[in-house]
């Protein structure tokens, strides 16, 4: 990394860190039950509320947000296309299909077992997407996201059909629309596995950057392209499946966050990956806080808020092309 890039990277990272810390504190003290800051540690009831509900909720938003942003980033790297993300390429829908099937066939399965099945189906669904995406002509960059949307739509339709047949439509929204209001201590910890995936992504950051240069360039530089592709797939699938099972699908995070960071800082993942992770956490946590405040004391699910906020950001990204591109 050049000096200019490194300076910019650490400055942006620092700024993102401050914003994230501020939102983290804010999230702990926003909710139906008012916990004044000065009483938080003195009052046993207030402390319990923080530890059982607010802190887990905040951590869940943070983990899901950073994970989804990184999953989007990796997906964009592997397809060499900046307009794909897990929720528009069949990954999230495949995970939903998995969790639905396990609910039907093995109703007593716990969250962990559900996550494993969802990860497996997400892996399968994403592999099919990637194999197809690599066959599409590179001269038509919009075919990849278009195919992803259609493909995700088909799987999503299958999910709806099965749920409708089994009279589980009401239940389905638990996974299709992200919501942190049900997160309590003991019910979100699986998301920490996603944090391990972030560490894995960070460790292969250079390789991912090279993979974005294409298969030939990667092989020429001595990278085991097929194996790295599989590893990337696993990271994307695990993260998406875990967030789908634990909090439900949150759209747009994986799409807008990596694109914004890429415009600001470029695509050298060694420098940008931490910023992408933090920005994803900021966006999701921010939207969750917004959802708690808009019609206080009632809540709007984060999936809905993100659908609006993310959509607006995405449109803005599309219309405001970088000056030199």
């Amino acid at each position: 990394m050049s000096n200019a890039a490194r300076q910019q990277s650490s400055r942006t990272g620092l700024l993102a860190g401050f914003v994230l810390a501020a939102l983290f504190m804010l999230s702990l003290f926003v909710g139906v039950i008012d916990v004044p800051f000065h009483r938080a540690l003195a009052d046993a009831g207030a402390l319990e509320l923080l530890l059982i509900s607010r802190l887990p909720r905040t951590l869940a938003a943070l983990l899901a947000g950073s994970g989804l942003a990184i999953a989007g980033l990796i997906m964009q790297t592997l397809t060499r296309n900046s307009y794909v993300e897990p929720s528009t390429a069949g990954t999230a829908q495949s995970a939903e299909l998995g969790v639905l099937l396990v609910t039907l066939l093995w109703p007593s399965a716990n969250l962990f077992a559900k996550s494993i099945v969802a990860t497996a189906t997400a892996l399968l669904g994403t592999s099919v997407f990637l194999m197809t995406a690599h066959r599409l002509p590179p001269t038509q960059p919009f075919l990849v996201p278009l195919f992803g949307i259609v493909y995700g739509g088909v799987i999503g339709a299958a999910v709806t059909f099965v749920a409708w047949q089994a009279d589980l439509l009401q239940y389905l929204s638990v996974w299709t629309n992200g919501d942190f209001s049900g997160v309590l201590r003991g019910r979100y910890e699986l998301l920490w596995i996603g944090a391990a995936m972030l560490v894995a992504a960070w460790m292969i950051a250079d390789r991912l950057t090279i993979m974005a240069l294409g298969r030939d360039a990667s092989i020429g530089l001595g990278i085991d392209y097929a194996r790295m592709l599989q590893l990337g797939l696993v990271i994307v699938s695990v993260i998406s499946a875990l967030s789908t099972v634990v909090v439900g699908m949150i759209p747009f995070v994986g799409l807008v966050v990596p694109n914004i960071v890429s415009r600001l800082m470029g695509d050298n993942l060694r420098g940008t990956l931490p910023v992408v992770a933090m920005s994803g956490a900021i966006l999701v946590l921010g939207c969750d806080i917004l959802g708690r405040l808009i019609r206080y004391p009632y809540e709007i699910p984060v999936g809905t808020v993100m659908g609006c906020v993310g959509g607006i950001i995405f449109l803005w990204l599309l219309f405001r092309r970088p000056a030199h591109a």
Binding site: S2, I210, D216, A217, L221, D224, G266
Partner: protein, 252 residues
């Protein structure tokens, strides 16, 4: 030495290469010439293990390309494909720096930095080092890609039409740089060229291909004759010797 033994290649049922055998000794510049579709790029990508070998054997320095670990080969041979497109937003210096990846697996030492600086300087990219690739012109981009292949520092360098998009000045600069590393550092360069006079002036040896076969092979002075050129390209050309250099006049 690069050894190609009885290599054939088919794409579905279309034959691309027919039983090619070729030895490229260490050191010097070998130019691959021939009409479009002759199989030059396919041969290059087979040597650089970008495509699986179907029939025959290829080895570099005695290492078979199909069984030697990829990361080891990356320290011996570098390739620049003709259709390399960079879609990532990387700075020129970052891109050239990735040429060093096979050596430190991502950690850049002071020595790596020196090599990167040298590659940037060699291709007149020092002033552009902090620019994003996408903001460069086609020729500047091409230079950045060549600089990346240079930075890889391998003994063998395969270049597929690297003069694309380069103006006369930089085409000459690139060929002179190649001559310099071939003479000074004993590097082996295999380069696909369409400008026959560049091949005649800078290469030690020219290998001509046509419809998947090697049709002529020799020093420029032997190979650049009206008869041989007619056999390769299918039309009459005049060859004049100016200051001892064969010049092909192919415009009429």
């Amino acid at each position: 030495m690069i050894q190609v033994e009885n290599v054939s290649l088919k794409h579905r049922s279309t034959p691309i290469l027919h039983d090619i055998s070729l030895e490229i000794p260490k050191g010097g510049i070998t130019a691959l010439i021939g009409p479009n579709g002759a199989g030059k790029s396919s041969l290059l990508s087979l040597i650089a293990r970008l495509q699986p070998l179907q029939v025959g054997k290829i080895s570099i320095e005695g290492f078979p390309v199909d069984t030697t670990p990829n990361r080891d080969l990356a320290k011996i041979i570098a390739i620049l494909r003709q259709d390399s497109i960079v879609t990532s937003r990387l700075r020129v210096r970052e891109l050239v720096g990735f040429g060093r990846f096979p050596h430190g697996r991502g950690r850049l030492t002071a020595e790596d930095q020196a090599i990167i600086d040298q590659s940037l300087q060699q291709f007149d990219l020092t002033d552009l080092a902090d620019r994003f690739i996408e903001t460069l012109s086609g020729g500047q981009r091409q230079r950045a890609l060549v600089a990346m292949a240079f930075a890889q520092g391998t003994d063998y360098l395969l270049l597929d039409e690297p003069l694309n998009n380069l103006d006369m000045y930089f085409a000459r600069e690139l060929m002179r740089s190649l001559r310099k590393i071939a003479d000074g550092k004993g590097k082996t360069v295999v380069i696909v060229l369409h400008d026959i006079n560049q091949a005649g002036f800078y290469a030690d040896r020219i290998v001509a291909m046509k419809t998947g076969r090697v049709v002529a092979d020799g020093a420029p002075s032997e190979l650049l004759t009206p008869e041989t050129l007619h056999a390769i390209f299918g039309f009459e050309m005049r060859v004049e010797t100016i200051d001892g250099i064969p010049m092909v006049v192919h415009l009429r």
